[in-house]
Symmetry: C2
Subunit: 260 residues, 2 copies
Amino acid sequence: MTSAMILIKLGGSVITDKSQYRKFNREQTARLCKEIAAADRNVMIVHGAGSFGHVLAKKYSLNAGLQDFIQVPAMAQVQHDTRELSLLVTEELMKAGIPAVSVPPGSCFVMENGRLMVNDTEAIRQLAHVGVMPVLFGDVVADRNRGFGICSGDQAMEAIAIIFKPEKIVFVSDVDGLYTADPKKDPDAKLIPEVDASMLDKVDSELTVADVTGGIRGKIEEMLRMCDGSRECVLINGTVPGRLESFLKDEEVVCTRVRP
Amino acid sequence: MTSAMILIKLGGSVITDKSQYRKFNREQTARLCKEIAAADRNVMIVHGAGSFGHVLAKKYSLNAGLQDFIQVPAMAQVQHDTRELSLLVTEELMKAGIPAVSVPPGSCFVMENGRLMVNDTEAIRQLAHVGVMPVLFGDVVADRNRGFGICSGDQAMEAIAIIFKPEKIVFVSDVDGLYTADPKKDPDAKLIPEVDASMLDKVDSELTVADVTGGIRGKIEEMLRMCDGSRECVLINGTVPGRLESFLKDEEVVCTRVRP
């Protein structure tokens, strides 16, 4: 095991079926956990909420904060569901030989106007210190001003990045990377192996009609924010067996690298 | 709903079968949650770990702290199991109409030489403020000096008592209260309806051979510690249908009251 830390986000699109409420992709998650274990690197893992979070959160507009008391039981239900997903993920990590514990952001942090406040991090640091990987995830979190809000998996990533200062950040998603156009609609769409902020502007103008890549554009913007200093951020397809493991072993793989 | 807060501990002996690893008493837990909802009082709930915690914790001597690295995956497994139990409990609370969220002590607190450090409590307070009951439980928690340690359900109770200052504390167990002798062996054993520290000394001398009440004696000692000022602590049998609900409705019930 090398000491340079790699922070891995297992996206909601790879560990769940986003089209079905509370549908866990157990086989794919198990394979990814085994790939991470096999690569034997110093890693931290965060995961998205996928269909354990977004379906109900959207139905009850939880992202808007407290507006009606009908949202309160919905908030509790989403917190329950995301905790359940997290136990399914940590169970697969443990089966792969990685001692891991689910750490719900809503249990240790609050938000302020939608921004996650990363204050007391000692429990998370001490868990890692004793050898149990703290696994954060997308969650509903109490908000000082709005009652509650959504802490996305990417915001949980930022919290872990603040605490552990990883050298690389890997976003594991269900696409090969950023394309010049929607690859599902345009046979001429080309994968962009490397982007920076200036290229993103160019890609954007060519992609105004391709809604499906809006999520990818948002992801790249998020990654650019996290690429402070010398840190490399990579977007990789976790649905392709072996690709994550290859990347972790410093082999050449299909991906989009984001440079600061 | 009256504003005086009542803190309820659902003991591991009522929500689990302590003789079987990871055996949840779903029906009994569901009934107790319904009784709590029906009483409609201002309550907070903490629960024990029962057979989701004690079996493996004992096998791997987790209470002794880190002594061998084989304990690390065991720590992760116990944390997983107690989180799973907690989701089973909060699920029953939600079914009974009480929005609740599992808050693992190991996610937000650390210990110091076995003592739970209750530092940043804002997430717990804000969850309660927005109307979702934070439910703490017995858990394995990182320890600054010992690597990790066991945070008992009773220690989690003390944390909640510090934060929310309840007026009454109810320990829901599987016995009617404290007896003059082991009721399972001695037909003349009498329930003691009210104890204070001086009576405990007297009871103790009469009970030197009754092992089964050792746990109860420890519980009473714990309760005496929590009875600071005017706070009343009660030990009640949760296996008797309706008893908890009656108590919460201020009706006369069989129990042992501990006076400071």
